[in-house]
Amino acid sequence: MLNQGPDLKTLYAEQGDDLLRFLVRRTGDAEIAADLWGETFAQALASRGRFRGNHEQAIAWLYTIAHRQLSRYYRRGKAECRAMQRLGMERPPISAETEAQLVKRAGLDEMRSAIAAGVAMLSDDAREAIMLRVVEELPYSDLASRLAISEQAARLRVSRGMKILARAVDVQTIKEAREA
């Protein structure tokens, strides 16, 4: 059963909820996060024979798998479920109520509000630069010509704007505020 290699049973009981919320915060989408979450545990199950380490290292190993899933998702724009399919696993569907609870537990609404507040704090120039770079994914050369500034100035504008947003979206602060 699950008692070979890292103790997945314990890992799931301890980390399942945290990992799912972690993925929700990084994807902003409960469905996608749940796919990545299921795939992470499926891959952990499939490769646990290769893992060597203690419980703390097993947690780090699990999050490494999750980060890899996230990277793939960011690159390809879709969550893969190959390990789940191979193992005959089917991720349970997320009901509206589950999604609402998950969004709440992940602090997603607070994060969205914080992002909105952060964006509102930006100057018009910085907001436009960030929209072009982050939302429309323009390369810096195109962004520079669109804004009629040098590429270096475009990079600087985006960088400054992102710093302001990062300060506004302090997830840890949100989490602590929510749990207080």
């Binding site: 290699g5 009981a13 909820d17 199950l45 024979g49 390990a83 696993m89």
Partner: protein, 349 residues
Amino acid sequence: MTDATYQAEPQGDEYERFLEQMGAQLDQAASRRASQLRRRRRVATGGIALCAVVAGVALVIGGSTGRVDVVAQAEAALAPTGQVLRLVTVSQLEMRGGTHAEITGSEAESLGWNKPRTAEQWSGSDPTRWRIATTIPTATSAGSVAAAPIQCAYSAGSEETYDQGLQTNEVVIVPVSRGQDESSQESPCTTQVSGGLGTQPVAHIRTMLESGALKAAGTATVNGHEVLRLTGQETRPQVSGAGPAASWPAEYDVNPETYAPVRFTVEMVGANALGNAGTLTEVTEVTGYEVLPLTEATAGLLSLRTTGNPVIRHGVNQYEKRREAEAASRESATNSATAARSLAQRRTH
């Protein structure tokens, strides 16, 4: 994952149910996987493990199936859970491309380099355990050299060596450090009881398959029988001291019908062969190969067999020791460079 063991944090019913459902999925998948492995074991013949390897290589080359699936299949077959793999090998060293096939010189003779060495090993996985029993040339109290039995075993992160050729009746336990795979050539036992193949040849094939280092190279004839040949390059850290990793051509021959391992050949390019010309090559014939069910009796085969009441002694991991020495050497070099710079600056001023 059973309800009895999974304790979710108190939260909304729906969400809790969702977590429990996923836990159940994971538990069922684990059970199915274990059952598949058990079924496979029941029908397994001695050669089924390498069958998956060869099939895997074919699939990788053919590209018709995802590589992950192939690796997973090969892995499952080569690291059979709940089984004990028994392998009997006879290894012989030779000089390829040299003036003599044998290794010449008195040292080679005293070290017994030209004598075939028989080794018997048992291995199991999940958790990984193995034992090797062989003989190595050992100096006697009379000054002569005789073959003396030696055993090595691995389990739970430690290797145990029982050298019966020594005048002491003791078992030396050495921890295998993190990052040092127990099946790798860096394991402390390897240099004593195993040559080019390492302590776990079958697991080693699996590793090579995973890394894409093995390729199917058609058929060949070995001892009058046709075999399938897999070839690749073995890359491994230098066993003695620091230096660039060695890359050695390797051949793995398997029975074309049963896929049982037949012969392994490793050309240890660049290895010190006591001044002999040519490439030191280890040819290992597999004379016994079987997959045994894991029982109380066969599990005992994975542990050292000792006589009397040997003293237990804890030894030093040479791999770790070498790494520490290298780190100390680097630090010393850095300190020397810093001192030299300081001196040069003082002189300039």
